[in-house]
Symmetry: C2
Subunit: 710 residues, 2 copies
């Protein structure tokens, strides 16, 4: 068996063990070393439970063994609940015995000291050499509630074991993961898997997500991450989850500078730039949750498994006010509260003469006197209104027990012929009443705004599935550009080869050559100094614009040469570029930088104040195709300027998309040897006339920036 | 007694009655006509309770009277729970008897039909003539829980009466108001007053807010509105609340076009433009809540009454992950998670060798083993860190009952010497445990993000109090401009009088005059056609720029005159303006429009794409002073362009603020006769060089735009 396959099978064993050892097992059922054993006993785990404790024969009523080597069988999983300095020795013993996976609760490793980091690396090497998997250290463990396997000391389990529903929780932070799993449980969701990865000496969050995305019982994944080491497996997990239509609702913290700083000291993981995560999540339809509430709200909605096919939202309300609030929320989240067809409105008006019947339909208190009115209103909206999602606002009505059952039945009757529609209720009631509504297939939220936000999130997930991921582009291999500095001319030549259009220009080395080049290109022309040591030509006066004739070009040549020599004495000067003045258009910026986690990332934005003051830019991982580039272009706030705002001609967005895609593919081919690319401005001409790069800079990757090659 | 004083006293009686009649009282304790009586009996209302029902002698065990006229005493308040067509007659009978206020539950008035609107107007006239106050119709009534006065049929009261704490709820929507009052109660807040105003035939939301803002027992007001009729009383309420430091947490719905449409059909109230509300709320420190959760969260925080003096936030956490999440939230909401002083860090590091101690302080699981570590950590942050607000992240720890009391005591011990600080906990536990923490003065939130948002809201309230409201500017009376159309020249003259600097310019009527004016002003100059019928001069070719000498000016004069005559035959042409070309600067726009609800509103923004594509503008009600104008200028996203971004000179923001304030005062003086003002562009020159208006348009208010004068 290959090592990779071995590691995969051992990961399976970690997630679904048939026998479990607890090293350092304690009789004290409150301590970290006592709790997992108690949970395993109480939850009815069917496999062998093997305590290891040299000082006792029996722990919590089970026969205990003096050492790992003395175990009567080789367990699938060994949990290590021992002091940090004893952990490496236990890991070695487990590997020697052939244990498939160990879970290390102990802290005091890479997160605390250099010695700790050394011990962690040592354990990592044992794991790599043996194929044994290693969860942690400094983690809260994992559970698989369907098997009653609790390899964790999460104290929230004292409040009850979760049901084995379709929800999985994967978290780098144990405390947060346990918190969100508990909240999910409280919200009535069945949490089947919980995995906390801690310091990630071996098993990383990406691999866990990939495993969960492939599991047939998982319907939605709640994830939490601070940073990634292995971005490839993570992206693969997003791809598989997208293919299998398993939504991921993810909290990625560290957006803020302060938060990112805290990450560094916390897990020592590499935090990729936040905007890159944002781009990645958008691409793969991952719902990024900012708050825990949002994460629970959206996961709860996803667990229902009904994803509206359109953005049309119907609203039935007992309160005009909350109806309006819901409309405001719909606008904010991009849902469409379009009116019902006139005939349906007329039918409802006959039934509810005093009510608003357009959408929202305000059924008023009358519907509560005669519940059949409510049923008819809801059924009319579903049938004639054809709303894919229906929000019913009932506030505290079902909290009154005399109303709870008739209201539920009235809604259920309207919904019975529309099982494919999403029915969401805004209501407040005791938990047992809420559960009885959920059992009929309705989603229940207390807050109308949050209900609308969740509906919009489901719609976005559906749209992401419908859109698909686009082709997985093969990266063309390219000859490395080397580590030398590149002049503008060199950079432009590379980009021209890559398919980026540039204005015709000539490199000249005398004033006379400059004039004859200008005569050939046509006036007016621009002159620019060319030197690898002068990156910012304008600042040294190395650029002259709008020269109208040969005499001006000749004297201009001397001027820029003098200025360059004065500003950068000793710099190598390759000559002067003569170029035709560019036609008018909209200036944009295309940039590439090498993200430490994800590799080359393409940035796009409008030029000038849009980038510098408003930061109106968007990102995407390279490579991508033209269709994906077009989506990227539409994301910027100033897109209207390209689309013919203010009476201007529509810009050539097709050509722009083509060039963006080409740059992304070029960047991907040079992932290892280009640090950054800056095409600024890339001028977009009116529709049908293409784009043209007016300036370009390529910074090669310096040898010292790549420790692995050093 | 004056009529106004009478109405005021009768409003007092409505809010604090000593005797109550229920007209149409029923034995059925579930019906609208039976519930208020039941609530009054069960709540122990001390005053007289007088059922009126011609068909019964006894209702719910109380003696009933056959008619309003037959009542043995004149009640302070009469609730009308009768069919819509019987309401006007009852209102008349109440007024005849001298009842101080009536509450009308019935619907079927202005919200449903023209006849209903007529009946409502009739009742309104009875109320105005008699001084009797009228709440509703189509409302859910009101309550005053301190008196046990329940003049409402809100079914949520079946679940228990609220405690008479410091929270007041005022809502145009009865259903929403009752919903939010119930949620406030569930969150442990004591709701003292609840008032729903329904159709507002007499008592409006502004008057209710004003009453509540003056009440000595109210500490925070939760408000809900869809639109306003009487904006003056509303603004007065905001002012009094601000002076008395009673925060208002307000939901104003109808931001979206669809929502505003629903308002029209719902209450027929006038919806002011949303941005104007936004400006007003900012000015008066009103917290605008978008969601019900947010409204409850912030009101709950305000009820505690501790408002941090600075934006510094300290964080102590048992989860590194949620610590990072809290940093992200702090950045989003503008709080400052600055590190502890080095000495304090060193002290904590000795105690927590494995923990992050900068801020957030990650106490890890160790603090739960030895709670004194937690106490020391918290006390150090409060003392040495000097954080005005401290967030403690404990997640599910206190949910485990063995931890709940020791954890609470450990926090309380740290806090005991810092009663003036705000201590907010992020935790999940059963309600009784949460209440025991709150009893120690701690605020409790389940979600860290929401906790941080609430802390930021408290800080903003404090900042608004510290900033003050600025002077209440007296509006200068001004001679009306009349209803005639104004040419650019007339408009500019008016603005020059108001103190808006304009470029020196002359109105000329011949080519020769034009040339001599240009000679006097200096070159280059601009020519512009002047005609009251030609508003958009550029479009007809009526503007020529950059004329360099007398000959160009003379021929230019003929050109613009010809173009104007061709484009607008028969238009009155007053001549041509000759002006010096403006110096370079940043172009801004200053506009004024007359909001239907609030009167003149000033808009400010940067010119060009900033206004047209990015809608980067800000609003403020006129009049205001220079300091307030400066605040307004800083609100736009593109402010950096005025503040010296991209290496440009800093613009003359002082001069800009002065002109904005002058325009606002001019607009306020002409509130009744100017419809709109458009100064576009107002060019802001480099610091110390002032501003200059390059173009200006004033549209007088047309007679037919003012129904009350027609």
């Amino acid at each position: 068996m290959s090592a990779a396959k071995q590691r995969q099978q051992n990961l399976d064993a970690l997630m679904q063990p048939t026998s479990v050892a607890i090293v350092g097992a304690s009789d004290d059922v409150v301590r970290i070393s006592g709790r997992p054993l108690r949970y395993l006993k109480e939850s009815g785990f069917k496999g062998a439970i093997l305590p290891v404790n040299p000082r006792r024969d029996v722990v919590q009523g089970l026969k205990s063994y003096p050492s790992i080597a003395a175990l009567p069988e080789v367990p699938d999983v060994a949990m290590l609940a021992v002091a940090a300095h004893l952990v490496p020795e236990s890991v070695r013993a487990c590997a020697a015995l052939g244990v498939k996976a160990v879970v290390i609760f102990s802290s005091g490793f890479a997160e605390t000291s250099i010695e700790g980091a050394r011990a962690q690396r040592e354990m990592q090497q044992i794991a790599r050499a043996s194929g044994m998997r290693l969860l942690g250290p400094n983690c809260l463990g994992l559970f698989n509630s369907a098997l009653g396997f609790y390899g964790t000391f999460a104290s929230a389990l004292d409040l009850g074991f979760p049901e084995a529903g379709g929800v999985a929780v994967a978290s780098q932070s144990g405390a947060y993961g346990a918190h969100v799993a508990y909240l999910a449980q409280q919200r009535g969701m069945g949490v089947r898997y919980f995995v906390s990865t801690g310091n990630e000496a071996d098993v990383e969050i990406g691999e866990v997500l990939l495993w969960l995305a492939r599991d047939p019982d998982v319907r939605v994944i709640i994830a939490y991450a601070e940073g990634l080491r292995d971005s490839r497996t993570f992206i693969e997990a997003l791809r598989i989850a997208h293919e299998r239509r398993i939504p991921i609702v993810m909290m990625k913290v560290g957006r803020s500078a302060r938060g990112a700083g805290a990450i560094d000291s916390h897990t020592a993981a590499l935090a990729g730039e936040d905007a890159v995560y944002e781009a990645l999540f958008r691409e793969y339809g991952v719902h990024r949750a900012l708050t825990t509430d949002e994460q629970i709200d959206v996961a709860y909605a996803c667990a229902r498994g009904v994803y509206p096919r359109t953005r049309k939202l119907g609203i039935v309300t007992v309160s005009g006010g909350v109806g309006i609030q819901s409309c405001d929320a719909a606008e904010r989240y991009g849902l469409d509260v379009s009116p019902m067809p006139a005939s349906a409105q007329a039918a409802l008006k006959a039934l509810l003469p005093y009510a608003a019947v357009e959408n929202p339909v305000d059924v008023t208190a009358q519907a509560l006197v005669d519940m059949s009115v409510l049923t008819t209103s809801l059924a009319t909206m579903l049938q004639a209104g054809d709303y894919e999602a229906l929000l019913g606002v009932f506030l505290t009505v079902p909290a009154s027990r005399p109303f709870a059952v008739p209201l539920r039945e009235a809604i259920a009757k309207a919904a019975q012929d529309h099982r494919d529609r999403l029915i969401v209720l805004c209501m407040v009631a005791d938990a047992d009443i809420v559960r009885s509504y959920e059992a009929m297939g309705f989603l229940v939220y207390e807050d109308a705004y949050r209900a609308v936000a969740a509906i919009a999130a489901l719609t976005a997930v559906r749209e992401s599935y419908d859109r698909g991921l686009g082709p997985k582009l093969a990266v063309q291999s390219a000859a490395p550009i080397g580590m030398r500095e590149l002049s503008e001319h060199d950079a432009k030549n590379l980009l021209v080869e890559a398919g980026v259009p540039l204005l015709p220009e000539r490199l000249v080395r005398t004033a006379a050559e400059a004039a004859s080049a200008a005569n050939a290109l046509g006036y007016p022309v621009v002159l620019k100094i060319v030197s690898p040591q002068i990156a910012h030509k304008t600042e040294v006066g190395g650029v002259l614009l709008g020269l109208e004739n040969a005499a001006a070009v000749e004297s201009g040549y001397e001027i820029v040469m003098q200025r360059a020599r004065a500003a950068a004495p000793g710099a190598r000067i390759d000559g002067v570029l003569v170029a035709r003045m560019a036609p008018a258009g909209v200036d944009t910026i295309v940039g590439v930088h090498r993200d430490a986690t994800f590799g080359p990332v393409v940035m796009f934005g409008l030029g000038g104040i849009f980038v510098e003051v408003l930061k109106d830019v968007t990102f995407r991982l390279a490579p991508f195709d033209e269709m994906q580039a077009r989506g990227m272009i539409r994301q910027i706030a100033g897109y209207a300027l390209l689309d013919g705002a203010r009476g201007m001609a529509r810009a050539d967005v097709d050509a722009l998309a083509q060039v963006l895609a080409r740059v992304s593919q070029f960047a991907a081919s040079h992932a290892e040897d280009i640090e950054s690319i800056d095409i600024n401005p890339l001028r977009v001409l009116p529709e049908g006339r293409g784009v043209v790069a007016l300036d370009a800079l390529i910074v090669p990757r310096r040898a010292d920036a790549n420790p692995s090659s050093g």
